[in-house]
């Protein structure tokens, strides 16, 4: 294939050879966005073809994808009403017929030989997000003060920007490339800031909705997974009803996360947006008891079901005294508190467990006025699965920790708890296991003084709900984790019910995948074979930042409510970042959606130009080397070879206001004054560059000498007129 200049998906000129798969996507998207497909049916078919070709581009396609594309393109080509649809259908068919082996290669090798599909790769933060949010785009929009647009971008992939801005486990920040230089971008806090601003400005809106398609879907469970699925199905025109056993929506977001981390109003505001889309909620309705699958199918006409029942059951300690004395399950304690029962559970409370639920229960006890709150955990602090920040905040509020402590028995008298019998533990290697396990130390028994015990040792899925569904050995619902379909046709599932007690953002990602799976199931189009690759929503211009500023800006500290105040109220602990901090944080972003860290710039600078100015040590995932953008200017000559060879236009070189400016995704790496031709005024380049050229030329032969203040054109003209030998002109001063 010959190399040619082509326009890629982002409308940029590219030096890479065209890819027919990528071209097909661009053409389909252009037609869909252009409005030529005015009939909903033809637009719908075009969208289905685009989704399938996207699967091909991203290596998610199976053997049935290409026949399905052919069939749909045939339908489009035979459209009885629209010439544009017929044309598009024929183009897709011809493209597939002509380049079938390229399409097949994408399916079989999950690779684009031209690199064209790869160049649309999302940034690591976006790839890491279980919901696939286009992080660099919304971070940049927030930095520009365009909060409403930022929220629109987030809500394309996640209907809960505010909730996730407060409680997300932030996989994006773990994968943030900036973290390889110093600290990751404060993505979570920025999202919360934008959501709050958009709500307060009244610009938090729903995206446009498709026309109703007359199909009914029933969702069981109004938690993050269920509501997310409802949101995407409602946007696609489905009539969605959510059945919920509790009297309110939110699921574990509401009943599992205390108000001081996630205020109820935040959930209510975002859930209300779903109601605006026509999603109906039936609260206080227990699936399987108040209403059955058969009734919903036969009497109410629901065709598909999404089961998002969470993991509501708790594990027991299985120790003496547990049944005799009224101890509490942490998850029930948190749920009751969320629903309005805020009684102090005891004066001296002991909490068993080391996860976030244990920490939430302990911090809630402090707020309810318990005199002493202790967490007993059987391993050491290093192994605690709870968030480090949560543990630190709990300690600030007065929670005590007892590590390497194994429960033996709950002690009591007259039905009341009087103490907790424990043993000290040590971590030892067990045969056949690569992990250290806590083992009780003989004779180390001790009694901890308490009058209430709260257990937080994990949750499991309720196996009494929908027992017909096939379960895994972990008793979770068995699904295909790509399309989220169960062993019963038309029944899908996601969230904690599928993966066990997990995170809000995973439930959101599962709900979104299920909505796509349900839509494909209704339309008889093949399900993907690989998990989705996130969609880049836009390619925004970069915010210009000098290298010195880029390096000196630091991740902002989240301001917290004073510990003394936290002990007495359920007021939100994280107070949020201010506008200035958020804008500065956007300037720290490296825009990895544009710079793909392919390393071509480094190679050209080091190996071809022999300059080695680009010490970008953060490109390596496993072994990043210290990077300081400020040092690049020391060696850079402003030749532009890096920019010329950058496949994604991340590195740019521009001549502006008498200077040559080299920047990487908006970070100004070097700026040098330009030298102009003294004859015609043409730009000759920075002095360092001219020196470099002269040095190189001198290596070729001692007879060749170039001038340093006159351009080649003027020199040629001069020599043509006089026939004189070219000589070095006087050295430029300064």
């Amino acid at each position: 294939m010959t190399e040619s200049k082509t326009l890629n998906k982002n409308g940029q000129l590219s030096a890479y050879p065209p890819c027919p798969v990528n071209d097909a996507i661009a053409r389909l998207e252009g037609e869909i966005a252009g409005g030529a497909l005015s009939h909903p049916r033809s637009r719908r078919i075009a969208e289905e073809i685009r989704d399938l070709v996207n699967d091909v581009a991203w290596g998610r396609a199976g053997n049935d994808h290409l026949p399905a594309i052919e069939e749909l393109a045939g339908k489009l080509a035979a459209d009885p009403e629209l010439d544009a649809a017929r044309q598009l259908g024929k183009q897709v068919k011809n493209n597939l017929a002509e380049h079938r082996e390229v399409f097949e290669s994408h399916v079989e090798t999950r690779n684009c030989a031209t690199g064209a599909c790869t160049r649309l790769a999302p940034a690591p933060c976006q790839t890491a997000c279980p919901a696939g949010i286009d992080v660099p785009t919304y971070v940049t929009l927030i930095g520009m003060g365009r909060h409403a647009e930022a929220i629109d971008i987030i809500r394309k992939d996640n209907p809960f920007p505010w909730v996730c801005g407060l409680v997300c486990t932030r996989p994006c920040e773990f994968m943030c490339v900036r973290g390889r230089i110093d600290t990751s971008i404060s993505i979570k806090a920025m999202k919360a800031y934008a959501a709050e601003r958009a709500f307060s400005e009244g610009t938090y809106t729903n995206p446009p909705q498709a026309e109703p398609n007359g199909r009914k879907v029933c969702i069981v469970g109004a938690g993050p997974g269920g509501i997310t699925c409802a949101y995407y199905l409602a946007l696609k025109g489905y009539e969605v009803t959510v059945i919920e056993a509790l009297p309110t929506a939110g699921g574990m977001m509401l009943t599992g996360i205390p108000r001081y981390r996630l205020p109820r109003e935040v959930i209510d505001r975002e859930v209300a947006m779903m109601e605006d889309l026509g999603v109906q909620f039936r609260f206080g309705t227990f699936f399987g008891k108040d209403v059955t699958l058969e009734e919903l199918k036969e009497k109410e006409g629901f065709e598909a079901f999404f089961i998002a029942i969470g993991a509501q059951r708790c594990w027991n300690l299985d120790i003496p005294g547990e049944k005799e004395f009224a101890n509490i399950k942490a998850i029930h304690f948190l749920r009751d508190m969320a629903l309005g029962i805020r009684r102090r559970p005891g004066r001296r409370v002991l909490i068993v467990g080391g996860g976030n639920v244990a920490i939430d229960a302990a911090r809630s006890c402090i707020r309810l006025g318990c005199e002493s709150v202790t967490i007993a955990y059987r391993r050491s602090r290093d192994e605690m699965p709870a968030d480090v920040e949560e543990v630190e905040q709990a300690e600030e509020e007065g929670v005590h920790f007892e590590f390497l402590t194994i429960p033996v028995a709950i002690l009591g008298e007259n039905g009341k708890i009087t103490g907790f019998h424990c043993q000290h533990a040590e971590l030892v290697a067990r045969e056949g296991s690569s992990r250290l396990s806590p083992v009780p130390i003989e004779g180390s028994d001790f009694i901890m003084d308490c009058d209430q015990v709260i257990t937080a040792i994990g949750q499991r899925v309720d196996d009494e709900v929908f027992p017909e569904l096939k379960r895994t050995r972990r008793n979770t619902i068995e699904v295909n984790t790509v399309s989220m379909d169960t062993d019963i046709p038309g029944v899908f599932s996601a969230g904690d019910a599928v993966i066990g007690p997990a995170t809000v953002v995973e439930a959101i990602g599962g709900g979104k995948r299920a909505a796509e799976g349900i839509d494909r199931w209704f339309n008889h189009i093949p399900q993907p074979k690989m998990p989705p690759v996130p969609v880049r929503r836009r390619r925004l211009e970069c915010i210009e930042v000098p290298a010195a500023t880029k390096m000196t800006l630091k991740r902002p500290e989240m301001p917290h409510l004073a510990p003394e105040r936290r002990k007495t109220t359920f007021q939100q602990v994280e107070l949020g970042l201010d506008e200035h901090a958020v804008h500065d944080e956007a300037r720290r972003c490296l825009r990895c959606d544009i710079c793909l860290r392919c390393g071509k710039c480094i190679e050209v600078c080091r190996d071809k130009m022999d300059i080695d100015a680009l010490k970008l040590g953060y490109f390596d995932f496993d072994h990043p080397v210290k990077t300081d953008f400020r040092k690049i200017a020391d060696r850079c000559i402003g030749c532009g070879a890096c920019a010329m060879n950058c496949p994604n236009h991340a590195m740019t070189i521009t001549d502006r206001d008498g200077e040559r400016i080299l920047s990487l995704c908006g970070t100004i790496l070097n700026r040098q004054p330009l030298v102009h031709c003294r004859e015609c005024g043409a730009i000759m380049g920075p002095r360092k560059y001219l020196d470099f050229v002269q040095k190189r030329v001198q290596r070729v032969g001692s007879d060749i000498r170039i001038t340093r203040d006159t351009c080649d054109n003027c020199l040629r003209k001069k020599s043509a007129v006089s026939g004189a030998e070219i000589t070095t002109s006087p050295k430029i001063e300064g």
Partner: protein
């Protein structure tokens, strides 16, 4: 010798798991490096699935016997 996986720990998907939660598409993850995002949050069960962000391949729940720590 390790205890449990920790948040932020660098790991490698070094082998296929015989666990039922291992799906065919996960074969393509073998050899990839990633970061533990959410360990077995509640019961430190060696059979629990842990959430791992894999470089360039997204975030997934994987069985622990397919992972090894890199540090």
């Amino acid at each position: 010798m390790t205890t449990t996986f920790r948040r932020g720990q660098h790991v490698e998907v070094f082998q296929k798991s015989s666990d039922e939660s291992w799906e065919p598409y996960m074969d393509h993850f073998i050899g990839l490096h990633g970061i533990i995002v959410d360990p077995d949050t509640s019961i430190n069960d060696p059979s629990a699935l842990v959430e791992v962000s894999l470089e360039g391949k997204g975030t997934h729940r994987l069985p622990q016997d397919s992972l090894r720590a890199l540090e």
